[in-house]
């Protein structure tokens, strides 16, 4: 039985070998001699369309997978780009800040104080939000040569004067403080008056002669009288002239030359500069 099985297997193998040999003979190295025959063509006519369909299905599946994969990649990329945008925005804000500061300092440095003054640049460190137009604190003090009544200016004009000095800081009374009064001249007519603070972002020009031909847009400068402020510092611009019938003087509403609500750096005009490097 076993022997019969072995003989059958050997016979089968021999037959298949012979068949393969017949098939292979002549066309093993010559593809053009490959003859599939009618049966082969029939099989291929079934097989190839089936393969094409399966291949299309695989393409669709592969395409869907690719889309899903790309969505995942896009999400990652999107998160990365968002972080990048956020970082660049922060950087842009920093750069804009630095640029604005550089511009302010450049303008500040353009200010040339009259002799015998020199200037000390100071940074505004604190302000009282409830009394915005009264005083502020700067980061310079006695060691920097500051003293009481030193004028404080920007490139645009007068800010105020130092009224309290400490070792490393000083408090500045703004021209808009109601306690502040500055002797001024109308730049065009040279008529004298006094600019007083009002506690808001305006000054009041008082004690100006009725005969003075004051008009909106006139520039006021310090008169140099009183000994606190040197002559010629811009104080403000006349915005509204107030003439009251029967009054001895005329008055005006004046816009300060410097935007006092946005002060960040100022120059303190000192008469006696400190010796050595003061901060």
């Amino acid at each position: 039985m076993i022997l019969a099985g072995s003989r059958r297997r050997v016979g089968l193998l021999a037959g298949l070998l012979a068949l393969a040999a017949v098939l292979l003979s002549g066309q093993l190295r010559s593809p053009e001699r490959r003859a599939v025959g009618a049966v082969g063509r029939l099989v291929l006519s079934v097989l190839l369309p089936a393969q094409a369909s399966l291949s299309r299905a695989a393409d669709a599946l592969s395409g869907s997978w690719r889309v899903l994969h790309e969505i995942g990649q896009l999400r990652t990329e999107n998160a990365r780009l968002r972080a990048e945008v956020e970082r660049l925005r922060r950087e842009l804000v920093d750069l804009q800040e630095a640029s604005a500061e550089a511009e302010r300092l450049r303008r500040l440095l353009g200010f040339r104080p009259p002799p015998p003054y020199t200037t000390v640049a100071a940074r505004v460190v604190t302000r009282d939000p409830s009394r915005w137009y009264t005083s502020l604190t700067v980061d310079r003090g006695l060691v920097d040569g500051l003293s009481r009544h030193d004028p404080v200016v920007t490139a645009d004009g007068l800010v105020g004067r130092v009224f309290e000095v400490y070792r490393n800081t000083a408090r500045v009374l703004l021209v808009t403080d109601p306690r502040s009064s500055v002797g001024v001249l109308v730049q065009s007519t040279r008529d004298a008056g006094v600019a007083e603070g009002t506690g808001v972002d305006r000054l009041r020009l008082r004690y100006l002669s009725r005969s003075s031909r004051l008009s909106e847009g006139d520039v006021l400068v310090t008169s140099g009288l009183g000994g606190v402020f040197p002559r010629g510092l811009r104080v403000g611009v006349v915005r509204r002239v107030l003439r009251t019938t029967g009054a001895l003087f005329q008055e005006a509403e004046v816009e300060p030359a410097t935007d006092l609500s946005r002060l960040e750096e100022v120059l303190v005009m000192v008469r006696h500069p400190p010796r050595g490097d003061a901060r």
Partner: protein, 176 residues
């Protein structure tokens, strides 16, 4: 087994082989790696051989290989011969060796893959074609690995088909 039953089994195997060739041509190459790809025809031939004996394995191998030759555009008979040798050998081995355990299908598939490639190599050598050894070895190893991984799945799937087809011939082994 009656003649009509035999005919049914043969037709079922034929269809499965046709499907395997179609799947191989359309899908298997896409998942190829290291110069090799899964060979579902070989796995089917192995299943037939283990289940229904070496003769059926040899015939299935020849038919499946011939279909691969036909679809692949290679010399007709080359893969047919290698697959029929593998089918015959696997069936014969299954009768003499105890192929048991979960690893058996994977090991057999790997060995059969290498065997089939060796037969093809021999035929190519006879024809005067010498392959580049490194790519050949890499491709053979990759194909053997793929088939080893797929064999347990394919065999399990075929067991379900077999339940529908009916009982095996006495010469087969139950594992496949």
């Amino acid at each position: 087994m009656t003649w009509w039953r035999r005919g049914g089994v043969a037709a079922a195997y034929g269809l499965l082989l046709l499907l395997a060739v179609a799947v191989e041509g359309a899908w298997a190459w896409r998942l190829g790696w290291g110069g090799g790809a899964a060979d579902p025809v070989l796995l089917l031939v192995l299943a037939a051989s283990l289940r229904r004996g070496p003769e059926v394995g040899a015939l299935a191998g020849f038919a499946g290989g011939l279909l691969q030759d036909l679809a692949g555009g290679g010399p007709l008979g080359m893969v047919a011969l290698s697959k029929s040798v593998v089918g015959l050998a696997a069936g014969t081995l299954a009768r003499t060796l105890a192929l048991e355990g979960a690893w058996a299908p994977a090991a057999l598939a790997a060995a059969a893959s290498v065997g089939a490639k060796l037969v093809e190599l021999g035929l190519a050598w006879l024809a005067g074609d010498a392959p580049l050894w490194l790519p050949w070895l890499a491709g053979t190893a990759a194909t053997a690995s793929y088939n080893a991984l797929l064999a347990p799945i394919v065999f399990a799937g075929l067991r379900r088909v077999r339940r529908w087809l009916g009982p095996a011939t006495p010469g087969g082994v139950p594992e496949a």
